[in-house]
């Protein structure tokens, strides 16, 4: 799909699209990364930190 969008010559070998461009051209992969990274490093790790605070007796 991405190859077509880049205008592969008709009938010729499909143009190889660099990995980085394939990432940047894929909004849903970007969405996935943009949600997972902060969820793991900020939210989940943060909640583990808060949960590990000992409760006062």
């Amino acid at each position: 799909m991405a190859e077509e969008a880049q205008g592969a010559p008709a009938g010729g070998r499909p143009v190889r699209v660099p990995v980085m461009q394939r990432l940047l051209d894929n909004p849903f992969l970007l969405l996935f990364l943009g949600v997972v990274v902060p969820t793991v490093f900020y939210l989940i790790w943060g909640i583990v930190e808060v949960a590990n605070i000992p409760i006062a007796q």
């Binding site: 969008a5 970007l30 990364l33 943009g34 900020y42 939210l43 909640i47």
Partner: protein, 575 residues
């Protein structure tokens, strides 16, 4: 202009569109009406919220001290919600629709859902505003538990957020349709990519908001007995801070858009600018952690990883944009023949065009005032100097008012002639508007930061502590700063009011942009729209002037950063 009908591939709906005589872009009727509706509501909230801001600033001006205490906190809450949530996010939804449907030449996905989104957002915003004005919800912007607002305050915010989420899905849906129907070639334009970044961050933002606001709502009606205050703070800031990053991504996209539309400026390198947005997508949201720097229960590893190591990668993204946009402008200007010396391109820039002036002021003030103070505040050790002082609102008025709000104002001067198809009224005053507002806001930011450096707290009704059992005196300079803050707030309000009057006046009473009017005074130079709506970098850019500006920026940055470490070293003298 001809109104034609297009049949979407596989779509049952037939949609009307027009071909814009100035840009050559296809503008679908539904997309256009939705952009207008969201922008108009945004501006109404800016007018209301700006007025509340003035009241807050006048109360914090010791010689004026206009509101009584209970009113102060009520109005402060209303101010934060009206401007930072409602003004900014309605406008951002308009930007998402513009950057997808208009720039991609495509119909908007599911316009009915877009209208549902709009209705939910309007309803939610009204319900929350009414809750605040009724007086039982003066919990301020952060609404930290165990302070409890009325249930419909949380409910209003939840409805608003659901609406905004639907708006983001409409944006993604439009990207899918545009790709399927091949309404553009190659990759999406950079401005759309910036809007995509904003939409991605918005989805994380709203998810965090749902995780925390839904239980808080249930707690306010008695279904849940307790919300842990530290967990609340943690997850709330997943929303509260990330939403500022939506703003940054959106206004950076607007900077690129204005540079392209006004000057035909192409990005220096599409790859580099897109990578900078990718850094935002990956790392910008981790900076939420800077709001937790003063919490004792959380480890230094978590704080330092999230606010330094990872976060500086996102700051790198901002610096890339901060260099590449003036660079793109310089290259375009040099291409147009402004080649003399280091700075002819800048001197001969269209400073009388409020779209350009607002954009450039926004860029400079966001970088110098907002960016530098943000890195300082976000550093664990020196954060302690300013935590919860007026330095914090000083910083974020530089980012979100001088940066985002001014950028959005600037782009309105293009949206009114191109989308509303009305002449701007009061052209002479409109020239001055970005300067009045920009200088006013720069003043309030600087003086709040100054007062904060002297220790004056934020969200505080009486800095004189007149009826407190323990007396405390701030230095005289702090009082002076708060007076000056009030003066500049008045200036900012005049600038803001002028914006509202000019825009509303133009939309309702402006002359229509007829073919003759367009021929006589085009809004944008020929070919500029093609630059904004397609992929392509500047060839052989020359940017000596930009390099000088960037050097000045770095020197200011480093000096100010180290001055703060010096301040810190003086807080606890060791001798």
């Amino acid at each position: 202009m001809a109104v034609e009908t297009a049949e979407g591939v596989g779509a049952l709906v037939e949609e009307k569109y027009r071909t814009c005589p100035e840009t050559g872009l296809r503008v679908y009727a539904q997309a256009e009406t939705l952009i207008k509706a969201n922008a108009v509501v945004a501006i109404v909230f800016l007018a209301v919220g700006g007025f509340f801001g003035l009241l807050v600033a006048l109360t914090r001006w010791p010689a004026v001290h206009i509101l009584p205490a209970e009113w102060f906190y009520l109005v402060l809450t209303a101010h934060g919600a009206a401007v930072l949530l409602f003004w900014i996010i309605f406008f951002e939804i308009a930007i998402l629709y513009f950057a997808s449907a208009v720039l991609l030449n495509c119909r908007l996905a599911t316009p009915r859902f877009a209208w549902l989104a709009f209705a939910l957002m309007v309803l939610g915003a009204l319900v929350a505003t009414v809750a605040v004005l009724q007086g039982e919800s003066s919990v301020m912007f952060t609404s930290y538990v165990p302070m409890k607002a009325a249930p419909h305050f949380y409910l209003g915010l939840i409805l608003f957020a659901v609406g905004a989420l639907i708006g983001c899905f409409v944006f993604f849906g439009t990207l899918v349709i545009a790709k399927e129907e091949a309404t553009y070639e190659g990759s999406i334009p950079l401005v759309t990519f910036g809007a995509l970044t904003a939409a991605i961050i918005a989805i994380f933002t709203i998810a965090s908001g749902a995780i925390i606001l839904i239980p808080t709502f249930l707690w306010s009606i008695g279904y849940i007995s307790e919300i842990d205050s530290l967990t609340y703070k943690l997850v709330w800031w997943g929303m509260g801070h990330s939403s500022q990053q939506i703003n940054v991504s959106a206004h950076v996209a607007v900077w690129y858009l204005i540079a392209a539309l006004v000057l035909g400026a192409k990005p220096l390198s599409e790859k580099v600018s897109r990578t900078a947005f990718l850094l935002y997508i990956l790392f910008l949201q981790l900076a939420c952690a800077h709001h937790m720097l003063a919490e004792p229960g959380i480890s230094a590893e978590w704080k330092v990883f999230n606010t330094s190591y990872a976060m500086y990668l996102a700051v790198l993204g901002s610096m890339i944009h901060g260099m590449s946009i003036p660079g793109a402008i310089e290259s375009a200007q040099r291409r147009h023949g402004f080649n003399r010396g280091m700075f002819e391109w800048l001197r001969k820039a269209p400073w009388g065009n409020p779209a350009f002036a607002g954009m450039f002021l926004s860029l400079i003030m966001f970088g110098f005032l907002g960016g530098i103070s943000g890195v300082v505040l976000g550093t664990e050790q020196i954060n302690l100097l300013m935590h919860n002082t007026l330095y914090v609102p000083g910083h974020f008025h530089a980012t979100v008012v001088a940066g985002t709000t001014l950028a959005f104002m600037a782009v309105t001067y293009l949206v009114v002639p191109l989308i509303f198809r009305k002449e701007i009224i009061w052209k002479g005053l409109a020239k001055w508007q970005p300067y009045l507002f920009g200088i006013g806001v720069a003043g309030t930011s600087l003086f709040m930061m100054g007062a904060g450096t002297l220790g004056v707290s934020r969200r505080h009704w009486d800095m004189g502590f007149t009826d407190a059992p323990v007396s405390f005196d701030y230095p005289g300079t702090a009082y002076l700063m708060m007076g000056l803050n009030g003066v500049f707030a008045v200036l900012a309000t005049i600038g803001g009011l002028l914006y509202v009057l000019i825009v509303v006046g133009s939309v309702f009473f402006g002359k229509p942009r007829t073919a003759e009017a367009i021929a006589a005074s085009p809004t944008i130079p020929a070919g500029a729209a093609k630059v904004a709506a397609s992929y392509g970098s500047e060839e052989h850019p020359k940017l000596p002037g930009t390099l000088v500006l960037v050097t000045i920026f770095f020197v200011s940055f480093v000096l100010y950063y180290f001055i703060n470490w010096k301040f810190l070293s003086e807080v606890w003298p060791l001798s």
